[in-house]
């Protein structure tokens, strides 16, 4: 890790410097109306080497999958195959414009159509759109579709969405954007949905339920079929949040247990890079009753040619053009390299790695739910008097690991949510478990090591409260 302070780009700027030379103007000039011009566009002035060193040095201030074990729960930080990058940067894709005629975009359209088909098969869905740009965007598509479905049947009173308290945080915010009320359904003793609480909410205003399965506790909802049956009987629909699809691909087709519409995050299960926060890509799949409402356009094959079309009763466009195509190329390559058997091996190894890690650390950390987990599990970080999860997380950094997701899910106090993924080997898991166990010991014997951590990073713990109180959001030189 690069520990040296790095100046801001504006602090490196010096008048008159320029990194990039452009070609000389080779056509006659046309006067530009002065009234419309601005005096200064405010961008910095740097030479090329300074730009390269600056951003290279910044990159060295990051942990990443390529450099560190990165077990963020529910984020599925698996290895991102390098061949995916090679394929996504083929000029035939990067230099392809979305508005050429279908005849001149057959390569892109074929790739989209085939990926639609493969992902639909994995979920058991009959209709698919790859338009959503991220998981939350896929959720938005799904909830809009549920809304449109009810309205199309003249059923305007269904504005209540049920959301288990073990669901992802985006679910309630998504419902608000679709004008729905949300009702939280508590978890039962075993970490599944509290069935009595669910039944009590099933009335004629129910639009549906949003189910994350496996949920954010890493637990598979065993009552899934019963839940779907009850919600359907009440006239509602079942939304599947597929952020945790890494545990299920090749193991269970969600549509077969009553999921009506679902998203997957291609940047989780399907190995596309997280890019420091994005771009992701969403897939939204639907059963026949909902397929006509999918966002579009989507691709299909007709008489050996590929074309775009808008589903018959589409909720419309959710972004310009056809999705994050560059991300789709990577997901396509991944699915093709794995095939059916590979996808199942992925799920098996992801679940095995999580359970192995769970067993290694359960002597040192409390687990609220001791059931066998799926691809992730939730431990608790209050391992000694006065020690919190945050301290454990920061100490992990000093021992060379990116911390897991912390303080989520909200229903587990002092939560540490750990998802190792299938691409880590046994040694990595052993080393990580040993570090966690060592920290639990240190918490009792030398708590200062935790409280003062991290000490091996370019900065120590930052004062986030002060940062939010008087925000400095841009360079002010």
């Amino acid at each position: 890790m690069n520990l040296h302070p790095e100046k801001l780009i504006y602090e490196l700027s010096s008048p008159g410097r320029q990194a990039v030379a452009l070609p000389r103007l080779d056509v006659p000039e046309t006067a530009i109306p002065k009234a419309l011009l601005r005096a200064d566009n405010g961008l910095p002035e740097l030479d090329e080497l300074t730009v390269v060193r600056h951003f290279t040095r910044l990159s060295q201030k990051n942990f990443s999958i390529d450099t560190h074990f990165y077990p963020l729960g529910s984020c599925t930080m698996k290895y991102n195959p390098k061949v995916n990058e090679k394929l996504a940067s083929l000029p035939g894709f990067t230099d392809a414009h979305p508005l050429v005629s279908d005849a001149h975009a057959q390569g892109s359209l074929e790739l989209i159509a085939r990926l639609q088909e493969y992902l639909a098969e994995l979920g058991g869905f009959s209709g698919v759109s790859l338009q959503p740009a991220a998981g939350a965007h896929g959720e938005l598509a799904g909830v809009f579709m549920i809304r449109a479905y009810h309205l199309s049947r003249g059923d305007a009173k269904r504005d209540k969405m049920l959301i288990p308290d073990s669901a992802h945080g985006t679910n309630p915010a998504t419902c608000t954007m679709a004008g729905m009320r949300t009702v939280t359904i508590p978890s039962a003793e075993d970490g599944g949905v509290d069935m009595a609480a669910l039944k009590a909410e099933l009335d004629e205003t129910v639009a549906g339920i949003m189910l994350t399965n496996p949920n954010t506790l890493g637990i598979f909802e065993r009552n899934i079929e019963e839940i779907a049956k009850l919600v359907h009987a009440a006239g509602g629909l079942v939304y599947g949040d597929g952020a945790n699809m890494n545990a299920l691909a090749g193991v269970l087709k969600p549509a077969s247990v009553g999921i009506d519409v679902m998203h997957y995050n291609l940047h989780k299960t399907f190995s596309t890079p997280h890019g420091g926060g994005g771009p992701g890509a969403g897939f939204v799949g639907a059963t026949p009753a909902l397929a006509d409402f999918l966002p579009g356009p989507v691709a299909r094959e007709r008489e050996g040619r590929y074309e775009l079309f808008m589903p018959a009763r589409s909720i419309g466009r959710l972004k310009s053009f056809y999705g994050n195509f560059g991300v789709l190329v990577r997901a396509y390559a991944y699915v093709r390299m794995l095939g059916a058997s590979g996808m199942r091996r992925v799920a098996e190894n992801a679940v095995l790695n999580a359970n192995y890690l769970r067993v290694l650390v359960e002597g040192s950390y409390k687990l609220k739910y001791t059931r066998r987990c799926m691809h992730e599990f939730v431990a608790m970080g209050d391992v000694a008097e006065g020690i919190h999860t945050l301290d454990v997380a920061k100490r992990l950094i000093d021992l060379g690991f990116h911390p897991p997701t912390i303080y989520f899910p909200l229903i587990v106090p002092e939560a540490i949510m750990i998802e190792p993924t299938e691409t880590e080997d046994k040694e990595a898991l052993d080393e990580f478990a040993a570090a966690l166990i060592r920290i639990a010991e240190e918490a009792k014997t030398n708590p200062d090591l935790l409280k003062k951590a991290p000490t091996t990073t370019p900065v120590g713990r930052l004062d986030e409260v002060a940062a939010a109180r008087c925000p400095v959001l841009c360079y002010r030189g």
Binding site: V52, L58, Y70, G316, A333, N353, E422
Partner: protein, 438 residues
């Protein structure tokens, strides 16, 4: 199986430690009747084979780099210096995630802060967030923000707004009873009233036209509405930017800042606001902070607006940002710099006007009136779609036939000229158009 590290003997040891006899046992919670379904997927390919297959698909596409390229309409063929790809492909940036742990994410966080700083100056706004999915969704979120801020539900839009942006706004607003009023051409003809949430201007508009917006912000504010300016960031490098025009919210499609066309995505939605609106702004924002020793660092901040804290009361459900696309724009702005990006805008202006002058001389072709930046509409003597079809396969992509979006506008072609077009290609465009209608 590729990308799975453990061997059979590793697995055996691990299963024993977990206390189960087989991998299948780990899935006992999955309903037995549906467990391990048959999957109809093609046989797995090796790396060598997948490269061959995907390369053969990519080869079927028409490439801007091997054509004379005059098609824009919301996705632009522009120059990206090599440094952008070199930096963005570094695994430390590419394979990191959302910087939830600031001490091990200072690279990503400082880069976001620098993006926010440069984008804020370019758009002339006080604050810029860490990005949206694309320009269309950024604009749709700006409309929703305006509605929530003012409590009003009428939106004044340009008739010449990018048609796909209009559709995205309608999708996003579907649940809240918004109504849309259009103005034709000059934004100064927009008539905000006492139910108007915002006046939206696209600059240049979908047809490439540019307008003097003097006085528009005052008119919007007098009616109690916000002014939202959606701007081409390359245009803003040379011409008056949204902040100078009095915009309360600015949005932009940042694809042309160092991001490839990629068949329409990933793109970069840019959003800027005045300080007054920052706590209502959606999306991730990075701020400066200090550690206990007083060292400067950067953190995600103002997260009380966001979904993971506020759940159903959040200002948006957006969770990711376009991290890597944003990084590319960040490096691009730093590398092109003040003079470089201005030169790109100037080259585009001069080349586009030269192209327009040649096309206007072609028999049967005429320009739509009005000032433009680097795109302009040409009236064609034959249906524009026919001309496009004819020329596309000859390596000249003359623009967008407007009938793609407006079926009745059969004889109009939207031509885009950027710094990438050479004089020879521009002359080829003019002669090809002439030939195509002969």
């Amino acid at each position: 199986v590729p990308f799975i590290a453990n061997s059979d003997s590793d697995r055996k040891a691990m299963l024993a430690r977990v206390g189960v006899g087989s991998l299948d046992e780990l899935f006992a919670d999955i309903p037995a009747a549906h467990r391990f379904p048959k999957l109809d997927l093609p046989e797995p390919l090796s790396e060598m084979e997948v490269v061959r297959e995907v390369e053969s698909m990519a080869a079927l596409n028409l490439r801007a780099s091997s054509s004379a390229w005059f098609l824009g309409a919301g996705c632009y063929w522009r120059f990206t210096p090599a440094v952008v790809g070199a930096i963005a492909s570094r695994g430390e940036f590419l394979t990191a995630y959302t910087p939830y742990q600031p001490e091990v994410s200072q690279g990503t966080l400082q880069a976001i802060f620098e993006y926010q700083s440069m984008a804020a100056r370019l758009m002339g706004m006080e604050v810029v967030n860490a990005s949206h999915y694309d320009g269309a969704t950024a604009l749709a979120e700006a409309v929703l923000l305006s509605g929530n801020h003012t409590g009003r539900r009428e939106v004044v839009l340009p008739a010449a707004l990018h048609p796909e942006y209009r559709q995205v706004i309608e999708s996003y607003c579907a649940a809240f009873g918004y109504s849309f009023v259009e103005f034709d051409g000059d934004p100064k003809t927009a008539k905000p009233g006492d139910s108007t949430a915002c006046v939206v201007v696209q600059l240049p508009d979908f047809e490439g036209r540019i307008w003097d917006l003097t006085g528009l912000a005052d008119a919007a504010h007098a009616a109690g509405a916000l002014l939202v300016v959606h701007v081409d960031p390359v245009y803003a490098a040379l011409f008056k930017c949204p902040g100078e025009l009095g915009a309360d919210l600015a949005t932009a499609e940042g694809q042309s800042l160092g991001n490839a066309m990629n068949f329409g995505g990933p793109f970069l939605g840019m959003m800027g606001a005045t300080n007054k609106l920052v706590r209502k702004m959606p999306g991730r924002i990075v701020g400066e902070a200090k550690d206990a020793e007083g060292r400067r660092g950067f953190v995600l901040t103002l997260s009380a607006r966001e979904q993971h804290i506020r759940r159903e009361k959040a200002v948006s459900n957006i969770c990711s940002n376009q991290g890597l696309s944003m990084l590319q724009a960040c490096v691009h702005m730093a590398a092109m710099g003040k003079a470089g990006l201005r030169a790109v805008a100037e080259l585009s202006w001069h080349k586009a006007h030269y192209a327009a002058s040649l096309v206007a001389k072609a028999p049967g072709f005429s320009l739509m009136p009005g000032e433009f930046f680097c795109e302009f509409v040409v009236r064609t003597p034959r249906p524009a779609a026919e001309i496009v079809e004819r020329l596309e396969s000859r390596g000249v992509v003359p623009g967008l036939a407007l009938s793609r979006y407006y079926p009745e506008r059969t004889h109009e072609l939207l031509v885009c000229v950027t710094e990438m077009c050479t004089k020879a290609q521009i002359e080829l465009l003019a002669s090809s158009l002439e030939e195509a209608v002969r």
